[in-house]
């Protein structure tokens, strides 16, 4: 259970993260002729890959019941619960390693293959 202050801090952090990421995508693409909807779609695609990857690489940590729960959470679009369940299976160190091994390359390749102009 979090107290009100912690709750507020978490909420603010989430807002900051969201805005920063949104700004980041805007910053990269807005002056390059893409519409706002187009940028949002690219962002959603990127998010889907990240989440899918997190689920995929973490599947081995889930037992049969949890696997079924995970599928159900996906169907019910309870991404928040799913994310928490996955994260709870990792120690801080393991989580950092997993992110480093599986999410970092995604971000890196996106920057290198999409975000950076080919003619620069």
């Amino acid at each position: 259970m979090v107290n009100a202050r912690e709750g507020r801090t978490f909420y603010i952090k989430r807002l900051n993260i969201k805005n920063i990421m949104k700004d980041f995508f805007k910053k990269i693409f807005e002056k390059r002729g893409l519409s706002e909807d187009g940028i949002n779609q690219m962002y959603l695609d990127f998010s889907a890959v990240v989440i899918l990857t997190l689920i995929g690489v973490s599947k081995e940590k889930l037992n049969t019941t949890e696997t079924e729960q995970a599928s159900k959470m996906m169907e019910d679009k309870k991404i928040d619960d799913l994310f928490k369940m996955i994260q709870s299976k990792y120690s801080s160190e393991e989580w950092a390693t997993m992110i480093s091994e599986h999410i970092t390359p995604i971000c890196e390749s996106y920057i290198e293959e999409v975000a950076l102009p080919v003619n620069a």
């Binding site: 993260i17 969201k18 920063i20 893409l34 599928s71 080919v118």
Partner: protein, 229 residues
């Protein structure tokens, strides 16, 4: 730590030059070209995600279910836009911190040094995997033999005589005439039943088989072990 600064500086570290500077040189590029690169990237990454993400899920529910899960993921992301942003942001934050920690990257480190550190990291990872197989050759060998037996048996080979069995034990499934990968999948179930008492070994085996790319390597490795043994 400044939350935003972490992400932006992290992203900038990934690019050979500061992103803003590169943007300014990109005025001739059309939106269509960018979108096309995005789609190309998306397809490539999704294929990879299918490969390693699917490996784990396949164990529990099969490829068909994984494809459904992929659709659900996209749909769920779209239905939870706010959360998705937060997750990606959270991931990027960890990445930002961890990236620098992992590679010991500091401002001013040359791209060559960065590459060198990465290569060393990859080499260590490969060594770790090798050690793992070396420690458990018997178990790996046992599993590999079992599945080979199952596969060859299902191919209709006569395995009743001692010579035939010997021949079978030397045959690599992917060298069989009319080798069908689906046979592997069916064989996996049979092997799983045998290895109920050792689910960890079964899991390891499944991982290797489902990756396919490890298949040949695995048998070659096992052959080397045989020679050594």
């Amino acid at each position: 730590m400044v939350v935003g600064g972490g992400i932006i500086s992290c992203m900038e570290k990934w690019s050979p030059q500061p992103i803003i500077k590169k943007e300014q040189t990109a005025s001739v590029e059309t939106a269509e070209q960018i979108r096309s690169r995005h789609i190309k990237w998306l397809k490539g990454v999704k294929d990879k995600a299918l490969m390693y993400g699917g490996t784990a899920i396949m164990k529990a529910s099969g490829w068909a279910n994984f494809l459904l899960l992929l659709k659900s993921a996209e749909s769920a992301v779209k239905g939870n836009f706010e959360q998705s942003l937060a997750y990606v942001g959270a991931g990027a934050l960890v990445v930002g911190t961890n990236y620098a920690m992992r590679f010991g990257i500091k401002k001013g480190v040359s791209p060559e040094k960065k590459e060198e550190i990465r290569e060393e990291e990859d080499r260590r990872e490969a060594q770790k995997m090798n050690n793992r197989y070396e420690k458990e050759p018997k178990r790996v060998k046992g599993i590999v033999n079992s599945v080979r037996w199952e596969i060859v048996k299902k191919e209709g080979t006569d395995y009743e005589t001692k010579d035939a069995r010997k021949e079978v034990s030397r045959t690599r499934p992917d060298q069989l005439e009319n080798f069908d990968e689906s046979v592997v999948d069916r064989s996996v179930s049979a092997v799983m039943e045998r290895f109920d008492e050792d689910p960890e070994a079964a899991r390891e085996f499944l991982r290797l088989v489902s990756l396919k790319i490890s298949y040949r390597e695995k048998f070659e490795r096992e052959e080397k072990l045989e020679k050594v043994g």
